[in-house]
């Protein structure tokens, strides 16, 4: 592959290697040289060995070749009639390199499947960059009133509160299975008889059990962890506004097998000892001190791989949770604290959108949107049934349990119901005073490529209609959903809107496609070897990932140069980015 002029200019300091066999007498041009971006791949494949005596591209351009030379051979002085002088190293534009005045430079952590270009901010970012290398005797005459050229409503930082949600947090001290359901003095009692009623929620569920797992009792066998669900109930108003009562210190965990003993989440299932199979403290998981209320379901034989089977398990678990919600709604207990969540239009700041790609290929690759109760099942719609088309939720609707995850198959990378209840990216974007988070778009990932294109193009139309000025796109899991994930980034980027991608890729989930807009990516892996490690919630989006994604989006919107990602996943880049932002070092799942 020969070099184009643009590529050539980027690589003047890189090694010069002939792309094809060349004969004596040739005057070397870019057309004769191999693309340095491919050197690592070629070296890995044993096709190329770079030489210490090798010259750089700028040293050989225009020089005459004195001997016939084979393809993929580094060019040395002995082959040429002479060597060009090296130009001095390019100086950074300022003392801080490519850092912007507003934020630190962080490096992309995932390389997309196609060559990524360098990003630049769109005109809509209302930012003028001036770089002056030398300046002498400058005089400027600026007309009075020029500052009014920008409409005041666009520059004035005003706010409009659209809706407010109050979360009343109640601490749970203990959970007991008893003869009645109640919540008093921090003790949650759940009527054991509720199971008889809950099992009637769906005839596919043949057996249901419940037990309480205290934090110190977690070395206990569990069937595959289908979901972790917070306990929250609407006390006033509807989803996203009013008052929601939330229990802290206890969560529900759903597990399931079929009548033959086959794990419901057969692929990458997480059955085993609970203390080894969940990343406690991650957003979608139980916290280290949480009491876990485990609901174990047995569903009809051979329905574990059909949509109706796992869904039945979720329905029955929700019937149990609803009994607790009914008590929680009316509790006279004093809340431990209150949290205010507000949907705010922040005028005068860039309008951004969070796009969450959720699975939509079938059983378990499905979610329930906008249920009647926080994180509930009844009243909601499944994204598969809706054709996986993009749906807009307000940040508050999501934070109020607007998603009940039927959870995809990869334990480490799936986003469980509790994840959405405290999604770090929504928290980071909604609370960021420099950004106006317009909403959260949920878009399903269908099976067939044409359907992927269809929903992705609808997303592009949405983003365009919203006149968004920035977007973050996330996906859970890996596989063919990366096709639409990259397509979404393309739909947004091709409209001149800065976009950042967030995904597990690492080693096992490397991107299979790419485009020129996928140049700013955040890696969520937390496994030392970069694998789906079957530990529930291990590599989901965590607060550090969210902070890096928001900073990268701001950098891109500001026009800070996005350097190309490393060719291979490297935890050291992520660690360095965390360090630059002053974030705690990420805990990585090790193996002993």
């Amino acid at each position: 592959m020969s070099l184009t002029k643009d590529v050539l200019e980027k690589h003047l300091k890189d090694p010069a290697v002939f792309c094809c066999r060349r004969q004596k007498g040739l005057v070397i041009s870019g057309a004769d040289l191999e693309d340095p971006d491919l050197f690592e791949d070629m070296a890995d494949a044993g096709l190329l060995a770079l030489s210490k005596e090798g010259l750089t591209i700028e040293q050989v351009l225009g020089r005459k070749l004195e001997t016939d030379t084979e393809a993929l051979t580094p060019i040395t002085a002995a082959m040429l009639d002479g060597i060009n002088a090296e130009s001095p190293e390019a100086k950074p534009e300022s003392g801080s390199g490519t850092k912007s005045a507003s934020g630190p430079e962080i490096k992309p952590e995932v390389k997309s499947g196609a060559a990524a270009g360098t990003g630049s901010g769109p005109a809509s970012c209302r930012m003028i960059h001036v770089a002056i290398e030398r300046l002498e005797g400058l005089k400027l005459d600026i007309p009075v009133g020029m500052e009014t050229a920008i409409p005041q409503e666009l520059t004035e930082r005003t706010e409009k509160v659209l809706r407010t949600l109050k979360k009343k947090i109640f601490q749970v001290k203990d959970v007991i299975i008893a003869d009645e359901t109640s919540f008093q003095n921090g003790i949650l009692k759940i009527d054991g008889k509720i199971l008889k009623k809950a099992i009637k929620a769906d005839p596919l569920v043949k057996d249901i059990k419940m037990d309480i797992i205290k934090p110190q009792q977690r070395h206990i066998y569990t069937d595959t962890i289908m979901d972790v669900c917070p306990i929250a109930a609407k006390a006033e108003g509807k989803l996203g506004e009013g008052v929601t009562n939330v229990l802290e210190g206890a969560v529900f965990m759903l597990t399931g097998v079929d009548e033959d003993g086959t794990q419901i989440h057969e692929f990458g299932s997480s059955e085993g000892f609970l203390d080894e199979k969940m990343f406690f403290g991650h957003p979608g998981c139980a916290d280290p001190d949480d009491i876990i209320i485990r609901v174990e379901t047995v569903i009809q034989s051979k329905t574990g791989m059909e949509r109706r089977g796992p869904f039945a398990a979720h329905k029955c678990e929700d019937a149990v949770i609803q009994a607790v919600r009914d008590v929680l709604k009316k509790t006279a207990e004093k809340p431990k604290r209150e949290e205010l969540c507000r949907d705010i239009r922040k005028y005068g700041r860039p309008r951004v959108v969070l796009v969450k790609e959720i699975m939509g290929q079938g059983a378990m690759h499905d979610n329930i949107l906008c249920p009647a109760e926080p994180c509930g099942v009844p009243g909601g719609q499944k994204n598969v049934d809706l054709g996986n088309v993009p749906l807009m939720l307000s940040p508050n609707e999501v934070r109020d349990g607007g998603i009940h995850a039927l959870t995809c198959i990869g334990p480490a990378t799936k986003e469980m119901t509790r994840h959405y209840f405290r999604e770090p990216l929504i928290e980071a974007l909604a609370e960021d005073d420099e950004l106006d988070l317009m909403g959260v778009i949920f878009i399903g990932s269908p099976q067939v490529n044409d359907e992927k294109s269809f929903v992705s193009e609808r997303l592009g139309a949405w983003i365009e209609a919203l006149d968004a000025e920035g977007a973050i796109v996330t996906t859970e899991g890996f596989g063919n959903n990366h096709i639409d994930f990259i397509s979404h980034i393309g739909q947004i980027g091709s409209r001149g809107i800065p976009v950042v991608g967030v995904s597990f890729c690492a080693y096992q989930g490397q991107l299979v496609v790419g485009n020129e807009y996928a140049d700013a990516m955040i890696e969520t892996n937390k496994d030392i070897n970069g694998f789906e490690n079957e530990v529930a919630g291990c590599s989901e989006i965590c607060p550090n990932d969210a902070a890096r994604a928001v900073q990268m989006l701001k950098n891109k919107m500001m026009g800070v140069e996005i350097k190309p990602a490393a060719r291979k996943w490297s935890q050291s880049i992520i660690d360095r980015n965390n360090e630059i932002l002053g974030l705690p070092r990420e805990k990585i799942m090790d193996r002993i």
Partner: protein, 75 residues
Amino acid sequence: MKIELKPILTRGKIVQVNDTAVKVDIQGRLGVVTVPRRWVFTDVFLEQGQKVEFYFSYLQVLPEGRQNPVHKAGA
């Protein structure tokens, strides 16, 4: 002895499709592999009888020290 595993492009036939997975007979009667639907790239709806291709290699048993890893969250 450690042998380098080299995946080769292999073919197979879909023998079962459900809401979660596809089951594929590996060409040459070399076994059966079942993968999640998310692992299948396709321009058409998945159906029994469709031919697929994928990279596949011989298998090597891991040494004893790597047989039973225990996970822990480390710094």
